[in-house]
Amino acid sequence: MLHVLNEFLIMALLAAGSVSGAWLLGVRSTLLAIPAGLIFATAARILVFATCNLFSIREFSAGAFYAVLAAALLIAALKSRVGLYRPVVIAVATGLASVFATRIIGFAATRHGDSYWILAVAHLMQKGGDMTILDGHTPLKRGFAYPLLLSLGSDDQWLTAITPYIFFALICAVAWLVLSLTKKYSSVIRSIVLSLMAVLSFSATLPLRAIFYINGHTLFAVALTVAAGVSVLAIRDQMLTRSNLLVICAAVFVATSTRAEGVAIMAVAILPIVGSRFVKRKQVALVLTSLTASFSIWQATYNSYLIPNGMPWVVFMLALIVAGLLPALAWFDWLRHRAFTISVFALAAIVFAAEIKWHTSFNKGLQALFFNLIYNRDTHTISSGGWGLIFGSFILLLCLAASGKVRLDLRRGQSWISTTLSPEFKLLMQISIALILGSLISKMLDGGQFGHPDLGRIGWSDSLNRMWLQSFGIFVVTVAVGLIQNDKIWQRSGAKNKGE
C-alpha cells in the first residue's frame, strides 16, 4: 500500500510540475501543456542525472529532479493568473488514473525481452549504480531518457504509471495538432474526424498494446509529434516564437536520447523548420545543438562505445556539437533552404539502392512489412503486426482527402500536377513520407551493423513494426487534417464548392 501511495505522490508531482514548467516556458494551450510538460520534465531528468553522474552522486538525481519539479510548480502557482490550473488538474487526474490502472487493477504490458533490458537499465539508474557497467556491452537501442523516467519508482520498483501517462500525452499532442491546424473549420466536422480516427486506432491491437508496453517508442512519438507539429504551425504562420522554439528544442533533445534511431529520425523531422528562410540563424543553431548535445550527453553518461578510443568525452561532445552547427553557417544556406526536399529524394535513393544491392533479403523484408501492416497471405489473417486495417484504411482515407484537390495537367507550359491542398497538409504528407523512408533506413542500419541489412520479420515484436508507433501520431494528424480540410467531403450533395 505504501508503494501505491508513493507512486500516487510521484505521479502527482510529475504531472503538476511538468505542466507548470511548460506554462512557465510560455505554453498556454491545455492540450499542448501536457505533452510539452512531459518533454520539458524528461529533458530536466536527463540533465539532472547526467550532472549527478559527472560527480558520481547518481543516488541524489531523483531527489534533485523532484526539487526541480516542485520549484516549477511553486513558481508557476505564484505567477499564474489564468491557464495553469486546468492542464494541471487534467494532468494530475491522468497521472492518478494511470497509477490506479497499473497498481490497483494490475494492467501490465505484454512481456518482451526489450522491456526487460530497459527495466534492468532503469534498475541500475535507480540504485545509483556505476553506469560504466553498461559501457561497451549494452546496445544503444535500450535508450536513455525512458529508463530514466522508469527509474523514478521506489524501492527497487519501476514507475509503472509513467507509461500510460506518456500514452495520454501522445493523445493530447495529436488532438492539439489537429485542432490547431484546422481552427477555421467546423467543430462538428473536426469532432467527427477525430472520433473516427480514435475508433479506428483504438480497435487495433498495437496502439492498445502501446498504452502499457515498456519501451521508448511512445515517448519518442510524443517528442516527434510535438516537434514536427510545432514546426508545421510555425511554417504556416511564418513565425517561430520563443516558446515554440523552446518546445522544439526540448522535443528534439528528448527524442534524440530516447531511441537509437532518434538522431536520424529527428534530423529528418526538423529539416522543414531548419530549412525555413524566416527562421533566424541563432534559432537554427539552437535546434541543431539540442540534437547533438542530447546525443553526446547520452554517450558521455553511458553507451560511450561510439566515442573513439582514447578521446575524452568533452572533446567528443564539442566535436559533435561543432559539426552539428555547420549547417547553420551562411555558406550552407543554399543547401539548408533545400535540405528537406533533397533529403526526401536522398532517402528514397538510399532505399532504392539498398533494394538493388540486397535484393533477396529485402524482398523477404518487404513481404514481412506487407504481412505486418496489411495482410498475411500465408495465414490469411489481417496484419500480423497487430495494426489491423489501420494502414490500409489510412491509405484509402488519404486518397479521399486528396480527391478533387489534385489535378494532372499535361498541357505544355503548365505544371504537371496542380493542387488546391493546403500547404500544411502537403508539408505533413512530405514529413510522413520522410518518416517512412527514415524508419526503413534505420531498420536497415540496425541489421546492417551486423552485416545483414534487412527490413525485419513477421510479427508484432519486429523492431520496424514497433517503430511505426513512433510516427503513428504524425500519420493520424496527416489523415485527419486532410479529411477535415477537404470541403468536398463535407458539402451537401449537389452544393457547389465555395472556392470554385
Partner: protein, 206 residues
Amino acid sequence: MTRLRNWRLLAVLAIAVLGTVVNLQALNTQAKPFVQGNNEFEIDRYIGDSNWVENAPLILSNYFKTVRITHVRNDMNLTETNNVVRSFGVRDEVVRIFNHAVANYDHFPIDYREVYIHDRNGRHKALSRAVLKNYIHKLPFGSNVLNVACAPKISKDCTLSIYWNSNTQLRSQEVTFVAVRVEANFFALIERNLLNRLSAGASRAK
C-alpha cells in the same frame, strides 16, 4: 441527410466502420494487447519471473543470497576460428546490475557430452537429462528449460536448465554454479557440490 448523399463522405464513413469492425475481429483472435491482474512491481522479480534469454543469473540471484557462476566464457561473435557452438550467453551487465551474483568467464562450459561412469548397472553418461532430472529447478514461468543465446550466435535453439539439490541447499547460503555442456545445444548450470557428487569417478570416452 443530404450530406450523406455525398459519395466521398459515405466512403470515409464506410472505410472507418469497416476498418473498425475488422480490427475488432482481429483483436479477438490475436494475443491480448495487455494483461490484467499483475501484482509484481519489483524489477528483479518481474524480470526474474520471465523466460528472458538473459535470465539465468537473475533467477539464481533471486533465489540464493549470493551466487557465483563459473565456466561461462562466451564469445558471441562468429569468426573463422569461432564457428561452432561452445557456450551460451551470460551477459555480464545483467550479472552486475543485479549484483547478488558474480560470474567467472575464464573457461568455457565443461563438456560432459562424452563423460561416462562405470558402475554395477554398466556404463552410462555421468551427466544426462535423465541423471539430472531429480534435481531440476522448475523455472518461475513454469517450464524446466530456458531458451538462451548460443555462443557464438550460429544457432537459435540453445537451451539451459538449472540444477541443485533442494534437500541440502538453503536459500540463505552462498552457492557456486558450474556451467556444463550436456548435449550439443543443451547446457546446464549445476550447483558445484551436486556436480562433484554426480561426476565422481567419471571417465572421458576414448
